[in-house]
C-alpha cells in the first residue's frame, strides 16, 4: 500500500488535512489509521478542512462526515460553496424571481439564473438551461435542463415538447432512454418522486 497520502498541517484556524493522489479507499484507510493513532489530540482540535485536487467534492464531504460522526471530531468546514448543500437554497418555485428568454437556445449555449426560467422558444440538443427554480419551455426541450440546481428537488421542468437529452432536478439526474422515446405529443411536466424524475402529463385530468 502507498503511504503518505494523507498529511496534517496546523494553521491558526485549525488543522487542514492534505490529500495527495491515490485511491479513495486507501486515502480513507490511511486517514482513519492516523486519526486513531492520536485520537485524543484530534478530539481537542478543530478540523478546518481537506485540501487536495485529486479527490472530488463528494469524497471530501464523505471524509468530513466520517470524522464528524464516526469519530466525533470538531469539523468546522462546511461545504457552503457547494451549490447542492447551500442552506439557503432558492425557495421561490411557487412565487419568485423569473427570467424570460425569448429566443432559441442553441447547442453550446448556457442559460443560468438564480430563479425560475421561462424560455419562449426551443432548447436544442447541446444547450443547457440551469435554474435554481423551475424551468418552463414554451417549445421543444431537447437539450439538458437542470431545475432546482442548488438542491431544490421540488422544482419542476415543463415543456410543450419534453424530449430532453438529460433532465436534472436538484441532485437527481435522469437520462433519455436509448430507444426512441414515445411522447404523447402533449405538454408534459417532470418532477421528482421518490428520488426519481417522473414525467407526467401537463393537465391532471382531461
Amino acid at each position: 500500500m502507498k503511504e503518505g497520502l494523507v498529511s496534517f498541517k496546523g494553521i491558526n484556524g485549525g488543522i487542514y488535512i492534505h490529500v495527495k493522489g491515490g485511491e479513495y479507499s486507501s486515502i480513507l484507510e490511511e486517514l482513519e489509521r492516523k486519526l486513531l493513532e492520536s485520537l485524543d489530540f484530534f478530539k481537542g482540535a478543530k478540523i478546518a478542512g481537506i485540501k487536495g485536487d485529486s479527490i472530488s467534492r463528494e469524497e471530501k464531504k464523505e471524509l468530513l462526515n466520517i470524522m464528524k460522526y464516526k469519530y466525533d471530531l470538531n469539523v468546522t468546514e462546511d461545504f457552503k460553496e457547494d451549490p447542492l448543500d447551500r442552506p439557503n437554497m432558492f425557495e421561490g418555485i411557487v412565487e419568485g424571481m423569473t427570467k424570460f428568454i425569448h429566443n432559441t437556445i442553441r447547442s453550446g449555449q448556457v442559460i443560468e439564473y438564480d430563479g425560475n426560467i421561462v424560455v419562449i422558444g426551443d432548447v436544442n440538443p447541446g444547450a443547457l438551461v440551469r435554474a435554481k427554480g423551475n424551468i418552463v419551455i414554451l417549445g421543444r426541450l431537447k437539450g439538458v435542463a437542470h431545475a432546482g440546481c442548488d438542491g431544490n428537488t421540488k422544482a419542476l421542468v415543463a415543456a410543450y415538447d419534453l424530449r430532453p437529452t438529460q433532465l436534472r432536478i436538484g441532485n437527481i439526474i435522469s437520462r433519455r432512454p436509448d430507444e426512441n422515446m414515445d411522447t404523447t405529443g402533449l405538454p408534459e411536466v417532470a418532477k421528482v418522486h421518490d428520488n426519481e424524475v417522473v414525467i407526467e402529463p401537463y393537465l391532471p385530468r382531461k
Binding site: D53, S54, I55, S56, S107, G108, Q109, V110, P125, G126, L128, T165, Q166, I173, R175, R176, D178
Partner: protein, 266 residues
Amino acid sequence: MVMGRAIVITSGKGGVGKTTATANIGTGLAMSGYKVVVVDTDIGLRNLDVVMGLENRIVYDIVDVVEGNCRLKQGLIKDKRFDGLYLLPAAQTKDKTAITPEQMIELVAKLKEEFDFIIIDSPAGIEQGFKNSIAGADEAYIVTTPEVSAVRDADRVIGLLEAHGIKNPKLIINRIRYDMVKRGDMMNVEDIIDILAIDLLGIIPDDEAIVISTNKGEPVIAEEKPLSAKAFRNICSRILGNEVELLDLDVNEGKFSKLLKILFSK
C-alpha cells in the same frame, strides 16, 4: 507494465470522417477484446458522443477532468453496447483554449496506464484544438477523401505532425466511390498515396450504411453486412498487426456477374 497506444485521428479538413473513423476504430478494437477509450478533443463542437449514442450520459467532460472538477473515472462514459469501451467527451460550452497541450500530455499519460488504446478524435483545422489533440499521441492516422482539397490539407497536416515528432502517420482514405474511380472521375488510391507518400492503413467506401448508423448512434462496424463495416474491421485488424488485403470495392459486380464474365470471356 505495457502502456497503451495513443493514436490521434486527424485530417486538417473538416467533414472527411475523423469522428466516424474514431468511433468505428474504437468500437472495433473494443470488439476484439481490448480496453479502449475514445477521446473527443473538439471542444465547443463535440460530436463523438452523438455518433456513439452516448450524449444522454454526459455529466462531466474533458475540461472538468483536466481542471479537476471531477476524477478521471467520473468523466469516462461506459459504452452502452461493448464492455471495455469508454468515451471521454469534449465540453460543449467552452472553447479550444479551455485546455492546453501540456494538460493533454498529462491526461493521455494517465489514460495509457488504464487502457490498451487511446483513440483521440481531432478537430478540423491546425490551431489550438489540433495542437491539443496531437500533444499526447504516439501515432497518427490521417483521414482524407479523394478530393484535391482534402488531400492538400492532409499533406499539410502530415508536415505538421512530423515537425511535432510524430513520425510515419498512416493514411485512411474515406468515401471512395468505385464507379467514379473506374470512370476516371475520382482520384484513385494510387494517386493519393503518390502525393502523400505515407503508408496506407485502409480504404473506406462511400456507404449509405454509415449515414444510417451515425444517425442511430451505433457505429457501423458492429454490423455484419455493410462494406464500410468490413473496411473498418480490416483497418482494426491491421492496427493489431495483421496483414489484411485491401477490400474489393467493386460492389456493382456481384458474384453472379463475375461468373457471367468468366463464362463469356472464353
